[in-house]
């Protein structure tokens, strides 16, 4: 006799369960944690490089870097003053998942830190679907990518808790319609906190740093 078994289980529930476990570990150690996502070249690592010196002496930071290959980003984070930096090489996978972060957390003495920054693989599609267990998801957009990205990558823009708009120093040179961009953001993620800034000139970085520090203290 054929039998129908009701299941109603989310396909990504295995990842979600492990993400919950990651969150429990992070919270038990008293850290604030962010998952930084962006397209390749938007400035994730540059933002980390510019963030770390501004947090020195105030906030102890661990950085976990996800890339398909190389330890270039973890090296840059270490050089910029991260108290610890762990590189995850995904070996081809286009996003970090909770299992990978779980493995990275094993390598860190979490109590030694106040802030955990996870730098995801450069990709505007897949990372949005795999929760890691971090407190906040941060998307870094950048002016040269173009103002149509919220419309083209709604899944990513819809799910984030904060939005950095990097490379605003290039606005005079690039036909980027900020109104159009922000209308798209507003449609997908009403009221999301936004930090327009330039890692190159330092403009706008203070607000971003304040947001991080406030969340770390909370």
């Amino acid at each position: 006799m054929p039998l129908n078994i009701p299941i109603a289980e989310n396909i990504l529930s295995a990842n979600d369960r492990l993400a919950e476990e990651n969150r429990t570990r992070i919270e038990a150690a008293g850290l604030f944690s962010i998952n930084m996502m962006a397209s390749p070249g938007a400035g994730k690592t540059s933002l980390i490089e510019n963030t770390l010196p501004r947090l020195a002496d105030k906030v102890r930071v661990a950085v976990v870097d996800g890339d398909i290959a190389t330890s270039l980003d973890a090296d840059r984070a270490a050089a910029a003053g991260a108290q610890a930096s762990i590189q995850i090489n995904t070996g081809g996978q286009c996003h970090l998942d909770a299992v990978m972060l779980h493995g990275a957390l094993d390598q860190l003495d979490l109590k030694q830190f106040d802030l955990l920054i996870v730098e995801n693989v450069g990709n505007l599609v897949c990372p949005a679907d795999f929760r890691l267990g971090t407190h906040k998801s941060v998307l870094i957009a950048s002016i040269p990518e173009g103002d149509d990205k919220p419309y083209k990558y709604p899944g990513m823009y819809r799910g984030v808790d904060a939005l950095v708009i990097n490379k605003i120093d290039l606005l005079p040179y690039i036909p980027f319609k900020m109104d159009f961009f922000q209308r798209g953001v507003e449609a997908l993620n009403p009221g999301v906190i936004t930090f327009p800034l330039s890692c190159r000139t330092g403009e706008g970085l203070d607000a971003w740093i304040d947001w991080l520090v406030q969340n770390v203290k909370r």
């Binding site: 006799m1 054929p2 039998l3 129908n4 078994i5 009701p6 299941i7 109603a8 289980e9 989310n10 396909i11 990504l12 529930s13 295995a14 990842n15 996978q93 286009c94 996003h95 998942d97 599609v125 897949c126 679907d129 709604p154 899944g155 819809r158 209308r183 507003e186 449609a187 997908l188 009403p190 009221g191």
Partner: protein, 135 residues
């Protein structure tokens, strides 16, 4: 997006429930996919044959139920299906909206044959599931 690990997850969930129920074979999987979850059914079908091979779910049919997107306007509470051009509320033009439906991605149910119900197969043909060409 990343249909290979997703297909693996689908299989893992199906097998876990099938084994718990003492199933001998999984014949059908019923999946619910929201329009907004960007899963490509053809890719899942493509990987399925390879991934399910040698398991009790080999040859099982995949059924996809697509759930249309529905948005809820946070200003006037209007629930509507967005068109492709704009997500804004058609009633009050507000862009303060949230997804009410369409981001689902779940395994709703599976159809199995249980080991204490061999009636669906003539005697002697229930062995060697890995060899069976289903459907």
């Amino acid at each position: 997006m990343h249909e290979l690990p997703i297909t693996q997850s689908i299989l893992d969930i199906a097998l876990r429930h099938a084994e718990k129920a003492g199933a001998r074979r999984v014949t059908d999987l019923h999946l619910v996919i929201g329009r907004l979850s960007y899963v490509v059914d053809d890719s899942i079908r493509f990987y399925w044959d390879t991934i399910a091979k040698g398991t009790i779910a080999e040859g099982a049919r995949l059924h996809f139920q697509r759930v249309p997107a529905e948005l809820l306007c946070l200003d006037c509470n209007h629930r509507y299906a967005p068109d492709d051009e704009t997500l804004a509320c058609p009633k009050c033009q507000s862009v303060r909206v949230k997804v009410a439906a369409g981001d689902e991605f779940r395994l709703e149910s599976i159809d199995v044959e249980t080991s204490d119900s061999p009636s669906s197969l003539p005697a002697g043909e229930g062995e060697g599931d890995g060899e069976m060409k289903c459907h």
